[in-house]
């Protein structure tokens, strides 16, 4: 279902004219208000007046996660701080998170975009939206919440965890729409089975799943096991949060990018060159209408391609193919972005722990589980069991701050972690999506 028919079905020509108008305005705005963008544009020898067509976007410098880190926490905000009404954050590559801000109007646009996402996935007024995305600094919970309220649905802000209680509430409150990570949806199916609850006896009709990579195989499994339609949604906090792109329930094939708000490009991750429409590469977004935290050509590191064929749902927005991988080593564990470098940073800050570690990610009962192997060096070794056990527990506690979920630390013998050409293999991802 269309939520905002006027914008969602704009003829391409009108859409591109709108994009160009907004792009020019954006570039002018960040050039004036954000020293970082002005400096980078000056270095690249490009002035706001050089942006005369959408193709001129390629003249603009990229923005990367490290630019966000270098300007931590509020250096890239483009409005006076007094106009910021919300702050969210996601994991950075080191200890510091990536911080984003929203004005009142940004929050309103975000709710609209999430309303489009909800409506596109088949949710409507009268639905009971069971929102199991995490609430907090993570954008998932509040993003889905505002969108569900905007379409007039009743939201259950249940957040993540405690699956048995979630299922009880689904039964008692008559949840019709489920929003969570796809792996959590499968976990709920597992727990229903354990509890002897027949998913078909629930009122669940549709699920909007995102915040982590998944596959068609997982979609089929979720749809079969929960007796629902499963729809893929996409977003990242640096760009907005959820509500950047979403599948329509009519096709469930490719996610419509809300192009009036976000200008997508696909680039070659090695050369930075824009690839022809339809080719696979790294997704790059420029926000066209955000006030507090606009980004110019943000490199998502997600690999996708754009589908330009028209869609039976009537939307004129191009679709992005389901994200198939990343160009960096970022892991998504239960919907939380984790960089191996964050874990390394954490381990190095624990006295005596040498950087010989390995992260093993696996999926059991549909949930991601993380085991961190740390080699026991002479500096941390002790003849007393409790000293080593306390160290393991300390690492587990600190890891939880990064992963937001528990992990298991296993102390292993020296030189047991495989090294190739002197560089240890840091991450073993055994998950099959």
């Amino acid at each position: 279902m269309l939520w905002d028919e006027e914008f969602e079905t704009l003829p391409r020509e009108a859409l591109e004219a709108l994009q160009l108008k907004r792009l020019k305005n954006l570039v002018e705005r960040v050039y004036t208000a954000v020293p970082h963008y002005r400096n980078k544009m000056d270095e690249a020898g490009v002035k706001p007046t050089d942006i005369k067509s959408l193709a001129d976007t390629a003249k603009l410098p990229f923005t990367t996660k490290s630019d966000l880190r270098d300007n931590y926490p509020f250096g890239l905000f483009a409005v006076p701080f007094s106009r910021v009404v919300r702050i969210h954050a996601s994991s950075g590559t080191t200890g510091k998170p990536t911080v984003v801000g929203y004005t009142k109007r940004d929050i309103d646009s975000w709710a609209e975009l999430m309303a489009r996402t909800m409506a596109g996935g088949g949710a409507h007024q009268g639905d009971v939206v069971h929102n199991a995305y995490g609430y907090g600094l993570f954008t998932g919970g509040l993003g889905a919440h505002y969108g569900a309220e905007r379409i007039g649905a009743a939201v259950i802000p249940i957040s993540g965890g405690n699956s048995k209680r979630q299922i009880m509430i689904m039964q008692d409150f008559g949840s019709t729409v489920l929003t969570c990570t796809p792996s959590y949806a499968l976990n709920l199916a597992d727990v229903m089975k354990e509890m002897g609850v027949d998913p078909a006896s629930l009122k669940l009709r549709v699920g909007l799943f995102g915040a982590e990579p998944w596959s068609e195989r997982m979609r089929t499994e979720i749809e079969k096991r929960l007796s629902i339609d499963a729809v893929d949604i996409y977003g990242l906090s640096e760009v907005m949060g959820p509500g950047v792109a979403a599948e329509c329930i009519e096709q469930k094939h490719g996610l419509h990018v809300f192009e009036d708000h976000f200008l997508p490009e696909i680039i070659d991750p090695d050369t930075g060159k824009v690839l022809p429409l339809g080719e696979k590469g790294e997704l790059v977004f420029t926000t066209l209408a955000k006030e507090a935290f606009p980004v110019i050509r943000y490199r998502t590191r997600d690999i996708s391609r754009l589908i330009t064929e028209s869609c039976s749902c009537g939307r004129t927005f191009y679709r992005m193919e389901r994200v198939t991988g990343r160009t960096d080593d970022m892991l998504i564990i239960r919907g939380v972005n984790v960089f191996p470098s964050q874990i390394e940073h954490l381990l190095m800050n624990i006295e005596g722990v040498e950087p010989h570690y390995q992260i093993i990610v696996d999926r059991k009962q549909s949930l991601d589980i993380v085991e961190v192997h740390v080699e026991v060096s002479e500096r941390i070794f002790s003849d007393e069991v409790k000293v080593l056990e306390n160290l393991g527990r300390k690492i587990e506690r600190e890891m939880k701050d990064v992963l937001l979920t528990s992990c298991k630390v296993k102390l292993v013998g020296p030189k047991t972690i495989e090294r190739s050409e002197g560089k240890a293999k840091r991450v073993i991802d055994k998950r099959k999506l």
Binding site: V376, F381, D383, G413, P414, T416
Partner: protein
């Protein structure tokens, strides 16, 4: 009065204890006493050997994580109440036993108990005041 104990980190997997003892056997090291502390994930092998320096060197060379700790060795009459007397001497003095292990020498009448206290010097003083016989490093290595 103190005896040097070697400790070795062992991963909890089959063969890891054999790996350590094989290295020591090849180097001609004689084990005087040992204990293995185990958890679900790892073990700590504690050893009293005839040559601690050589043992440390050879184990390190073979890639083991090795630690050295001072412990005390106490000779206890091999009869009821022998052990109780020692622990009574320590009790109430704010000294804690971290761990201990015992071995009985066929050639001697007495049992030998290895103790790791949180405060070795305080423990030695308390035990000596009670007339408990504490063996020297040389005595233990020569057993």
């Amino acid at each position: 009065m103190k005896v040097e104990q070697i400790s070795v980190f062992l991963e909890n997997k089959s063969g890891s204890l054999a790996d350590v003892t094989e290295v020591m056997a090849r180097a001609g090291i004689n084990i005087r006493a040992l204990s293995l502390a185990d958890t679900t994930d790892f073990g700590i092998l504690r050893l009293i050997v005839n040559d601690p320096e050589e043992t440390t060197a050879v184990l390190k060379k073979n890639g083991f994580t090795v630690g050295k700790t001072e412990v005390i060795a106490i000779e206890v009459p091999d009869r009821p109440g022998g052990m109780a007397r020692i622990l009574t001497a320590i009790k109430g003095r704010g000294i804690d036993v971290e761990y201990m292990y015992a071995f009985v020498q066929v050639s001697r009448k007495n049992a030998i108990i290895i103790f790791r206290f949180d405060d070795l010097d305080k423990a030695i003083a308390a035990l000596q005041a009670e007339g408990v016989k504490i063996l020297t490093g040389e005595e233990v290595q020569a057993l």
